[in-house]
Symmetry: C2
Subunit: 467 residues, 2 copies
C-alpha cells in the first residue's frame, strides 16, 4: 500500500465526480470516467438486461427485424378518407390520437382542443359544450393512431371523414396512414378549433383531398425513400425541417396536378396551399417511417424499438419482440428555443407521433444533415453532428438508403436497440416542435428532447420474461 | 559553426522539398515550409505587388468596392429579348459569347457550334455552311457577354432574339442579364445546334419567355439574394448545384404563373420544362452575381476582381481599378470526374461566364455548403470545407448575406483581392462542368479548376502602373 502511494498516481474515477475533483485539488492526475450503472441502477432492469445482452435469440431476431426495416419500400399510393382506409372508423364514432392510449380526463389541453374540433368538424355536435358533453357521455371512442397503422403530428387527431395519405410498403403489402398537414398558425394539431380551423379542414376534405387523389391517379405511385434521401442532402432531417422535401414533392405532383382536368381555381388553391407550407411533406415522411418500422414489428425476441410516440402526458414505446404492448413513462422536457413572449412554463409536454421519424433513423438521428435547423432548435452544427454520431451507439446498424453528407455520407444510425439504450444510458434524441399547453395557441417553439429511460427499462424487463 | 552542428538541429526548409528530404534521410528534424515566392517568382510582378501591398489608396479602394458589392440588391425584374435589353443588339448582327474577347478562328469547338446554332436560330443563314460563310465574310460581330453586363454559362451564346432574364441592382439601378437555361443533353451552350436544339430555342422564345414575363408581371419583383442564401442552406452552392434554388424559384413563380390567364397547355409545358431542369436557377444566380460584382467595378485603385470568365481557350479576369481591361492566360485544366466513356483527352478547356459565381463568393467559394456536390465533382466533404476556408486567404472579407452551415454559419469568403492571390500563390477555386471539345456532344463531366496565376500577375502590374 505504501509502495502504491509513494509513486506518482494515475487515477481513473468511475462514479461521483466529486471524488475526482478532490484528487485533482490535491494535485492528482485523474481521468473522470463518464459512467453510470446500466438501467440507471434499477436492479431488476439490470438483471433483465444482463440476460438479454448477446443473447443469440435476440441477436438473430434483431438482425431479422432490421433487415425487414431496411428492405421496406414505402410508396404513396392513394388518398382516402379515414373511414375508407380504416374499417373500424366507418362503423364507430372513433377518434384517433397521437401517442400511447390515454383517457379523456388525463389528456392535455391541445389534444382535448383538437378532439373538440374534430367532433365539430364531423358534425357530431354543434357547439363546444355539446361536443364535450358527448365525450363525457361516452359517445366517442378514443384510440392511438398507432393501433391502426396511422400516425399524426402533435395532437395527431384523425376523425372518420378526414383525408389520409395512404402509404404501402411494397415489400410486404401493408399500409400506413397519416393525416394531411394543415400548415402553421391556428391549426387543429395544436388544439385550435375555431371557424378558421374548421373551414380549412372542410376545404382540405372537399377540394384538396380529391385533387390530390386525382393527381396520384395521373402520376401513379410515388416512392418516398428516394425523396427523403435526397432531402437529407438538401438540409432537411424530414422531421422538423421538410422544406426541401416539400419542394421535391411539388416538383413531382405539379405536372400531374395540371393534367387531371381540374378547374383552374382548384389548381390555384391547391398549389398555393402546398407551396405555402414547408411542413407539407412531414406527414408523408411520418407515414413512410411508420411503414418502415412496422415492417420490423412483431419479430419474436427482437429488442428493436418500432414505435416512439407522445400523447402530451406520457411517452410510449413499442418494441418488435413484445408486440402491441406499450411501455410508458412521463415525457421528458423539451430543451429548445421559444418564440418571443413564450417560455417553458407555457409549454405542453412533448407531444405527437412524429418521433416515428427518429424511430426510423431520420429526424434527430439524421440531424447532421440539417445544420441549418440547429438555429431553429438551438445549438450548433457540431451539436447536430455529435447527436447523429451518438445515436450510432444505441442502434442496430446504419441505413444506407439515408446518408449524411457532413459525416462523409455515413448511413444514418437506425433501428434503436432497447438493450443498448438501457446498457449505455444514451437516450434517443428527438427533434420536436413545442405546443402551448392551452388548446389552440399553437406552436410556441422548437427544440430537442429525449425519450425517457423508464419505458426502455420496462420493455427490457418484459422481453426478458419472454425468454 | 562547429557548435551549431554539434547540437541537435531543428530545421525549417523553405523552397525545394528535396533539401528537406535529404535531411530527413540523414535523421534530421525538418519542417518543410510550403512556401513559394510571390508572383511565382516573376520579378516585375513581385515588385509591382510590393508597391501595392498595404498601399492606403488600394486599401481604401478595396474597402469601398467591397461595400458596393455587399450592398448590391439584385432583383429579377423582367424578361426581355436581347435586342430589347441591349441596344447594340437591335442594330447589328451581334452575337455575345462567354469569356474574354476571341476571334472566330481561335474559338473552340463548342463555342463555334453554338454560334452556328445561333445564326440558324436567328434565320441569318439557312444551313451550317451558309452560317460559317457569313461568319468568314465578316457578316457577324462577336463580343463578350460581359461587355454588355450579360453572362452566359458554357459557350454563353446570346443572339438578338433570345430571351434574357433582366436583373436590376436596386442599390444603383444598373441591370445585368443572362440567357435562359436550356436543361441538359443536346443544348446550344455545349455547342449542339441540331433541330432539337433549335426547336427548343424557338419554344423558349415563343412560349416560355412570354409566359415568364407575364408571371413576373403578376408576381412583381423577385429578390434573388435571399433565395440564393436559402439555397446555400439546402445543399446548393448555386453554381454547379441549383436543385434547391430551382425548387425555391418554382414555389415563388408557380402561383403567379397560374394566375396570369395563360392557356393550360402553356402552363403545363412551362411547368414541365422548369421542374425537369435542376439547373434552371443557374442563369439567375449568374446574373445576380454579375449585378453584385458589377457594383464594385470601376473603383480607381481597387485590386478587387470583378470578372472571371472563360472562352474555352483563355481565362480572363477584370479588376475593379483597371476598368474594362482584360487580363488573360490559358485556362487551367479541370480536375474532375468524367461521365462513362469520356476522359480528359475529350475535354474542351475550361469554358463559360459561370465563374462569375465564384467572383461573387458562391460556387466553389461556398462549396462547404454543398457537401453532396463533391461526389459529382470528385472529392470529400472535408475537401469542400477546406476549399471554402482557403478562399478566406485571398478575399477582402466575408459576405454575411451568404452563410455556410458546415462552417458554423461563417460568411462566404468574397471579393477576390488580386494582390493576395499573387502574394500567397493561392488560386481562386472554381466548380465547373466539363464540355466535350467537339461541338454538340455536350457535358462529359464536372470538376474543380482554378483561375490561372498569370492573369492576376498581369493585373497587378497594370494596377501598379496606375499608382
Amino acid at each position: 500500500m505504501n509502495k502504491l502511494f509513494n509513486q506518482p498516481l494515475k487515477v481513473v474515477n468511475a462514479g461521483l465526480s466529486s471524488f475526482a475533483e478532490n484528487l485533482t485539488l490535491a494535485g492528482g492526475d485523474v481521468i473522470g470516467l463518464n459512467w453510470q450503472p446500466p438501467a440507471l441502477g434499477d436492479i431488476d432492469g439490470g438483471l433483465a438486461l444482463a440476460s438479454l445482452i448477446r443473447h443469440p435469440l435476440v441477436e438473430q431476431a434483431n438482425a431479422y427485424a432490421f433487415q425487414k426495416y431496411l428492405s421496406a419500400q414505402p410508396v404513396l399510393v392513394d388518398v382516402m378518407s379515414a373511414a375508407e382506409a380504416i374499417d373500424a372508423m366507418a362503423r364507430r364514432k372513433l377518434i384517433l390520437h397521437a401517442g400511447p392510449p390515454i383517457a379523456w380526463t388525463a389528456m392535455c389541453g391541445p389534444v382535448k382542443g383538437a378532439i373538440i374540433g374534430a367532433i365539430l368538424f364531423e358534425g357530431w355536435a354543434a357547439t363546444h359544450e355539446a361536443a364535450e358533453r358527448l365525450v363525457l357521455d361516452g359517445g366517442v371512442e378514443f384510440e392511438p393512431c398507432h393501433h391502426y397503422g396511422a400516425v399524426g403530428p402533435m395532437a395527431g387527431i384523425i376523425s372518420p371523414s378526414m383525408p389520409l395519405w395512404v402509404i404501402e410498403n411494397k415489400t410486404n403489402g401493408r399500409r400506413a396512414y397519416s393525416n394531411f398537414n394543415e400548415g402553421l398558425g391556428k391549426v387543429l394539431r395544436f388544439g385550435a378549433n375555431n371557424d378558421e380551423v374548421l373551414q380549412r379542414l372542410h376545404w382540405m376534405k372537399q377540394e384538396l383531398a380529391p385533387a390530390l387523389k386525382a393527381t396520384l391517379k395521373v402520376l401513379g405511385e410515388v416512392e418516398l425513400k428516394p425523396m427523403m434521401a435526397q432531402a437529407l442532402h438538401m438540409g432537411d432531417e424530414v422531421h422538423n425541417r421538410n422544406a426541401a422535401a416539400t419542394g421535391l414533392l411539388i416538383k413531382r405532383l405539379l405536372p400531374a396536378l395540371l393534367a387531371c382536368g381540374l378547374p383552374l381555381e382548384t389548381v390555384q388553391r391547391v398549389t398555393a396551399f402546398i407551396v405555402g407550407n414547408d411542413h407539407f411533406f412531414l406527414n408523408l415522411s411520418m407515414a413512410a417511417c411508420k411503414a418502415m418500422t412496422d415492417a420490423a414489428h412483431n419479430v419474436p425476441f427482437s429488442s428493436m424499438v418500432t414505435v416512439m410516440a407522445r400523447n402530451g402526458v406520457n411517452f410510449g414505446i413499442r418494441m418488435s419482440g413484445t408486440g402491441d404492448q406499450w411501455f410508458q413513462a412521463p415525457a421528458n422536457p423539451v430543451e429548445g428555443l421559444f418564440f418571443p413572449g413564450y417560455g417553458v412554463e407555457d409549454a405542453a409536454a412533448d407531444l405527437g407521433d412524429s418521433a416515428i421519424t427518429e424511430t426510423a433513423g431520420v429526424g434527430g438521428f439524421a440531424m447532421a444533415s440539417s445544420p441549418a435547423i440547429v438555429k431553429f432548435v438551438g445549438g450548433t452544427p457540431a451539436d447536430a453532428t455529435a447527436n447523429s454520431r451518438r445515436m450510432q451507439a444505441i442502434t442496430i446498424g446504419g441505413n444506407p438508403a439515408f446518408t449524411l453528407p457532413p459525416l462523409n455520407f455515413a448511413p444514418t444510425a437506425a433501428g434503436i436497440d432497447a438493450r443498448k439504450v438501457v446498457d449505455r444510458s444514451i437516450l434517443p434524441v428527438i427533434n420536436t416542435g413545442i405546443a402551448h399547453k392551452q388548446a389552440g395557441v399553437g406552436q410556441i417553439g422548437a427544440g430537442i428532447t429525449t425519450a425517457p429511460m423508464a419505458g426502455f427499462i420496462e420493455a427490457i424487463r418484459a422481453l426478458a420474461e419472454h425468454i
